[in-house]
């Protein structure tokens, strides 16, 4: 079954370039502003969008994305509102893949079957659930795959060769390689550091490999895009949202330019990357 994600990576291969994956938290800093940013991402150069589902206890995230989640929750963010953002987005854009990213509990409480039905109906393409390792595949991964969603797994520097097959089994769409041991927004890894890891993953799978955690500048993105199939940027974009807010947390004029202009810079960084295929 071919999905929007498969199609997007096929297109990127044809263009001979890596993709840019951008992350924002749904509802940050408020539902309407967040929707407008989401809507502007493809034109700014995002090839794939990761949309964060806000959660009170994001144990794998650094301060930037923690704060984004709390801003969203404070402004009324919820699973229902996250899904309706996707529904609205799909009325304008039927090509850009959307991957929901977050933690399992809000999905579990929403109800796995209802969630999958509503996510598909909204136009969601894939899921990245940080706290569902392959050991808990029965929970959501298998039902999601059966429903026709991609389930994108994180591979990390601690995922050794013995474990990789277990992680890649039931993974679809792409593999998200976490370039460092740590939380989102922490120190960055360089292309030379991650090349062996990408080589290693590619020995086990034909899926595209996106690399994230710690990519902060267009130069970082260019560097990573020279060896990966896509570069993922989250905290640095979310920081642009945070710095566009006034003292009361309200968005200031120019927020869209500030955020989407940065995404455009990241996109041109990625576009400049000279492919040194792994």
């Amino acid at each position: 079954m071919s999905t929007r994600i498969d199609q997007r990576f096929a297109d990127l291969r044809k263009e001979g370039r890596a993709g840019l994956v951008t992350f924002i938290t749904a509802g940050d800093p408020d539902l309407e502003t967040s929707y407008e940013i989401l809507k502007g991402l493809p034109q700014a150069g995002a090839d794939i969008i990761e949309l964060g589902m806000p959660f009170t206890d994001p144990m794998a995230d650094g301060p930037s994305i923690q704060a984004a989640g709390l801003r969203a929750l404070k402004a009324g963010g919820s699973m229902k509102n996250t899904l309706s953002m996707v529904t609205r987005f799909r009325k304008h854009d039927n090509a850009t893949p959307i991957v929901l990213m977050g933690y399992y509990n809000p999905i579990y409480i929403y109800g796995v079957d209802t969630f999958l039905k509503d996510a598909l109906a909204a136009g969601v393409d894939g899921l990245i659930i940080v706290d569902l390792p392959p050991e808990e595949d029965e929970e959501l991964c298998i039902p999601a795959l059966k429903a026709g969603l991609n389930f994108i797994r994180l591979a990390t520097p601690t995922t050794d060769d013995a474990r990789l097959p277990a992680v890649l089994n039931n993974t679809s769409g792409f593999v998200y390689y976490v370039s460092i041991t740590g939380i989102t927004g922490a120190a960055s890894a360089s292309a030379s550091h991650i090349t062996p890891a990408i080589d290693r993953i590619k020995r086990h799978t034909d899926l595209p490999v996106a690399v994230g955690f710690g990519i902060k500048t267009p130069e970082n993105a260019e560097d990573i895009a020279s060896v990966a199939d896509a570069a993922v940027v989250g905290s640095a974009i979310v920081d642009r949202i945070a710095s566009s807010l006034d003292a009361h947390g309200k968005p200031q004029d120019g927020i869209y330019q500030h955020v989407l202009g940065f995404v455009a810079e990241l996109a041109s960084g990625v576009a400049k990357a000279k492919k040194t295929p792994a």
């Binding site: 806000p54 959660f55 009170t56 206890d57 994001p58 144990m59 794998a60 650094g62 301060p63 923690q66 709390l70 929750l73 919820s78 699973m79 229902k80 933690y103 399992y104 509990n105 809000p106 999905i107 579990y108 409480i109 929403y110 940080v130 706290d131 569902l132 390792p133 050991e135 808990e136 797994r153 994180l154 591979a155 990390t156 520097p157 601690t158 995922t159 050794d160 474990r163 992680v167 976490v178 041991t181 740590g182 939380i183 922490a186």
Partner: protein, 405 residues
Amino acid sequence: MTTDQPNAFTQGPNDHGHFGIFGGRYVAETLMPLVLDLEKHYKAARDDQEFQSEFAHYLEHYVGRPSPLYFAERLTEHLGGAKIYFKRDELNHTGAHKINNCIGQILLAKRMGKKRIIAETGAGQHGVATATVAARFGLPCVIYMGAVDIERQKPNIFRMKLLGAEVVPVTSGSRTLKDAMNEALRDWVTNVDDTFYIIGTVAGPHPYPELVRDFQSVIGREAKAQMLDREGRLPDTLVACIGGGSNAMGLFHPFLDDQSVHIVGVEAAGKGVETDQHAASLTGGRPGVLHGNRTYLLQNEDGQIAEAHSISAGLDYPGIGPEHSWLHESGRVEYVSATDTEALEAFQLCCQIEGIIPALEPSHALAEVMKRAPNLPKDHLLVMNMCGRGDKDIFTVADALGVRL
């Protein structure tokens, strides 16, 4: 009770770390290999006679075990019913049951060649116990503690610092215990090579609920032997307080398959379970996934975790160990709750007629004993886990009673 009960309540968890639908390993991939490695080493240690002897050695000579099983004669007379015994874990080194688990885990850390210790703490008791064993075994130690808790537990901050630990204030989220646990997990995910995370209760990803329970089960094993020695038979009722539930699991576990023993866990009802200010996860929560395991959690209809409230900082956690959730649903253990006010009354009674200043945590268990004991016959043997002493709580109690120190 339901008919499809397991034959043995002491056999859990299964190979995947599940107690029924509870437990499991809901952690980020970076941590997964570490959790599997810990499980492998723990299994080997558990079966290693040398490890067990070393554990027993430190429990005896450093912690001061066995703790007495004390007949609370005046409380028994006062309540006029069941014969009440206290399992005196408040007499342990550092003043609570927490040290039992910390000794076990630091020996495991040493065995695994880890060079650095981290832990979360709410009231500071687990932080103090962890800092204590880290000092004893010469390992650097970082304790994560919510900024809100730091404000209300200043003496314990100083204790941890005296013991050489670094105390890191956690300013994310609600800035209490659950956020301290998030921050400790973030540290662990960053420092995967050299760091051992000493979790303080029977929660977290498998194998933590199991190994913490096993280390704490010394409480129940001793109590059983002591009761057989004193009374020639098993107790009729066990009572213990529950935040995460490690002291309770430690007392209960060796008795789970003794069907004649009635077992009661007491959650913190704060200002009342009908309010939104309590910490009674089983009474007021529902199953969810947090901190690596599925268990009962206080949360809203969107799956966002709620803040807990209790006068006792040690019970102030929106979750509970997964094995308790399982024992609750299977009906083997009865779970009830006691309010801040009831705990305060029990606290004062215990000071006045037993000459024991209990911690606010076991004061909740004592509140249940006060409700239950008068209606039981005089030959009914009741054991309550006096899991901590109350020196740390005198400021909180003074404040609640309107006394200026």
